[in-house]
Symmetry: D3
Subunit: 260 residues, 6 copies
């Protein structure tokens, strides 16, 4: 099977990180899986707010459309905030699309009674609660707790980040009753620190990109795709009013001015 | 006070509708309110899917930024799906931003025990449930019921649309227990049919644009704005890492390639 | 439009406060609104328990009936506990009735993700949770936190009350995640301290009487009233078994003994 | 033990019904229980709306106060709507007070997975949902379904009422999944038809007054009373600001004018 | 009426405790109740995990079947975890079966707004939340807090156990808002310390075996049994495919090998 | 990796079905997975009630213990009701254990907004709701709808069963809003009809054993196991009071009588 992992933000600040990440994905994959690491060429520096989620939409969509055309079986939107996921699912008809957030919290739900998400910022808490709501597992959410670190600072010091995650996680375990953890960031995922933290804390710790890859391999291998009743093609497309998704966008106040 | 009502889709298919809509808004406003009707110059034909919500983001954002710079007190994103609302609230610091969906369902919650939303499409049901979740009033949602009409067909026949809304609403009332209704579309709002339907069905019917305008006038007049703790400025902006929202978007994999 | 603001407790302990309160309401109102401040002539000293809510019922009802007869467009029951609100809505057929509690928590829901209510007493917490349940926004309630001050002590020292509210609110913000606050008392509302507290805490603070007035002006101006399907006329009245609401009450065990 | 069963509406329309009801209660009671049937001397004809619930408050309170003074162990407010229950619990300190509604739905919760309440009127549905919310068992509520019969018509034809209840209950069982039923009216309770209906439908049917009596006997016999932390004495009483509950009510705008 | 109280674990470690417990039950019962204390002859030492709940199933079932055959009106499964309760209810057709957990939390729900359960172990928290879910009163659960004592250590020092319960309960009251408590263990129940703790903490404290006994007496006295629609006979029995519950169990892979 | 699929009921009625089922599992597995089909040698004929779930416990536990000792990476309890799952997870320390129910509903949650479970019997509805509660996704459950077929009749006529599932599923889709389906039975899973039904209904249909196998392969391949904080070892074992799980069970009322 063929899977595309799309990073929805151009990694200009860490282009050299692309290669080791692509390698990690290949290591994690099952033997017969071909997984390709794709970085968009424009978009937000990193995604740390709802605003930046929207900024990532246009370039990510292009990759989704391309991957489906090229016969990919599935695409992973490589951000824990699942930016634009519902829209991507609307415009695909054969290729499964998942984010990092939803599979992570559902796996957490499978392994314990209450999980906590470790986010980067306080300001992301509501966004993560919304992801958990969309995944349908609010009843199992113990808490979202923030590290107060910027994505761009994640690469700096692996050791101090692991220590910080452990410190915040211990509060989630003791004060909030978490018995399972979700790392709330794709970049942290590629630091590959989940197992180390899990061993120390003695509870499962979900690494979002690794977990999403495996979920996708499972779903594809048994022919499951997101429900097209739940994520229907935009009505203008399904009814034939427009011929392709590009025509859903118009320039100016007259249909003639379409330039794209 | 000064309020901007932004239609997040270029009304090329109904440009002549802009003037009467702007007039209606002025009629609905309190004496000291200046309300201006703004149409974006590019974006989705109409908004009938999550995908089209994202398509509306870029042009709407520009208007939001402009209105705040020009000293507007509030902006209304004129679509019942509240496209991009959370992001718009993140990037504004002095100007209140609301959509049509959230104020409508909260007003419905104030007037009765259970409300139903009358949407255009079946495929919008989940999106409306998400709006109701975000507004926090899922406990009062009786149902979302669809008319199965396209936005573009709304203008055609006022009478038959009123009849259809009444027919679908009666099911919501009798089968789902609704004692209040929300019309789930800004375009229906400007048909100005809520009162007629309300008189017939003998329960309150919320007209989203009219209701949003009044809520905004109320909030502005008592100095209330959306919470900046809930909708924080993107961290790169608040920390000074970038100087303005344009710099949140980069082209290419190197910071040098920024062209905007 | 004509709005009556009914204080459901005789302000004998602060009769001199009636005039400035009436003035404040007039200041807050839109130009074309006539708002009249009404104090009942008997009832509980102040309302700090469910028992005192019931004590306020009889005199408040009389004012409600009078205001509707005199052609008022709306009445506000001026207590954050919404005493008797559902019953008042049952017996009115043309005049909108709201309390202070419900509009406050719904406005809070419109502005952020989680709100806290600052109540006077610990013993009011369950009553406020019930109001939030009735309003339908329990999902957004961060907490109810008590000041442990008596209503009668509110007038004494404005400054120390502001300080106390700030201290308690900070706990709601930091420990409970509130990003919006509701002052849980009409009397505090007229101290007019919400803006000051909001400026200090940097999150919206809802002043119940001010907010209720604006909500009512909005609703009346667009012809919305509480749903008479939700708050039906008592069956004996709607079926004609009795001719007026006075006849719903009987003295003694025989209908003949009615003395009223 | 000594239990008072207070009918919160003067039964002028069925005074002759008092004796058989009192007898039924005595039959239902355990050997050592003394249960006395008390009818208030003024109040609403019957209780079919929230407004009439409030009308019953004053006279019922008087009986509650009297019974506690006379050393009763418990009082039952004999109406399925639990009128004024929370207030009655606030002002009692030694005597347990329960209504009919809360014990009924909690017993139903103990016996099955989903229960339905059979109410008299459509207009009571929201009131019953509120009782179920207050009891804490909304998760087990299958539905509230209405008979559309007036209380005053209940006495007329026992057989046709049983048939009607069965017809409506069958819908609750088949369409809503109810596996247990609560008769939503004290007057129906004294018709003593629950067992007959239960035998026919083959699921438990709760008779509110009978069930409340037994719950009360259980609670009293093991020394349990409603929580005084949950239902605290009004603060003015507990702090000694007033000496008795009568002083909580004032006449006129000056404390001197108290006439009671 | 005749009630069996089944201890689902052989009390080999406290055989001498059987007699005083049986006596306590008889003291607690109403005059006309015959209550018999039954101890299973094999099973888990004590029940402190889900695994041990299952271990208790077989021997407890035998007693349930025997009691129903002997004409008992009701059986109490004497463990706060309600082990196997749903299955016991499936196989009984005339005899009411209850556990200790469900009646306790429902009684707590009747007496206040929020209750806490005091469990023995941290590891039981999820199991108790499940019981509260099954009882339908999750909305009223303030918390489950653990004593971190083993059942076998309960007998050692009555005074120190009371002190520990009080200490943990105070946290439940102050930090979690509990206004009512449930002792989460049948063995603690027979220590008969609930009243003492209640007097000290000034909120109701539910003693599970005592409370279950009274609930059962109430239910039996008014002819109520668990719903056979909710807890249906296993289909093979109701359809006649097998003749008795023993035949539901087969040995080996051929029906001929049945040896029982 | 090595996975055991345990059928918790002796398939005496379909021993010849064991071989093709084992083959199907091997077909479904990834290349490097060794999956072994295990049938218990005693237990319930089939599992159609809570009572039969408990009957399956003892034999299934033995297999779980054996598989963990033999170094298996994971075990699947092959029944949609997840019988004894929580207990199996308590007693394992290195081997992941899952059932069929939980992974199915979590996968359904990942693919759409609302799912329905197609169960065999009406009487299983509450049990399935409990599984969905335990999985944490009650918010996404559209309905549980029953086929009213016995497990033993499933093998008879593949075509008529497919037709029946489709008929019942259409109701779930149209009346309950399901956009994803879960087949509520392991035996149906091995009929391998999910894809056929999915193609016809145009929404995803989860085949429980196939899906569970893939989920397990995913989890094992990234080193995730059920949380031992959530499913702790029984306290007597973790504290060393007993040496192995066999000692948790005692015979007679004296510890000496242990015969096992």
């Amino acid at each position: 099977m063929k899977i595309g992992y799309i990073v929805p933000a151009p990694l200009y600040w860490d282009v050299q990180g692309a290669t080791p990440r692509g390698k990690l994905l290949k290591e994690w994959a099952f033997p017969n899986t071909e997984v390709n690491f794709v970085i968009v060429t424009e978009g937000p520096i990193t995604i740390e707010s709802k605003y930046e989620e929207y900024l990532s939409f246009s370039a990510t969509t292009k990759e989704i459309v391309r991957l489906e055309k090229e016969g990919y079986d599935a695409a992973i939107v490589g951000c824990a905030a699942d930016p634009g996921l519902d829209a991507m699912r609307e415009i695909t008809t054969k290729m499964l699309v998942v984010g990092l957030g939803e599979p992570s919290v559902l796996t957490a739900a499978m392994l314990g009674h209450k999980f906590s998400i470790i986010s980067l910022y306080e300001s992301e808490i509501a966004a993560f609660e919304e992801i958990v709501y969309k995944a349908g597992v609010l009843d199992k959410l113990a808490s979202v707790r923030a590290l107060n670190i910027a994505v761009l600072d994640l690469a700096v010091n692996r050791k101090s980040i692991v220590e910080k995650i452990i410190r915040v996680s211990q509060k989630a375990i003791e004060d909030d009753g978490a018995d399972c953890l979700v790392l709330g960031c794709g970049v942290i995922g590629f630091l590959n620190v989940a197992d180390e933290i899990s061993k120390f804390l003695k509870i499962p710790v979900i690494n979002p990109p690794k977990n999403a890859l495996k979920m996708v391999e499972s779903l594809v291998s048994i022919g499951l795709m997101h429900s097209k009743k739940a994520f229907a093609l935009p009505p203008k497309l399904s009814s034939g009013k427009v011929k392709n998704i590009d025509q859903l966008f118009v320039y100016g106040h007259s249909p003639k001015v379409r330039r794209k």
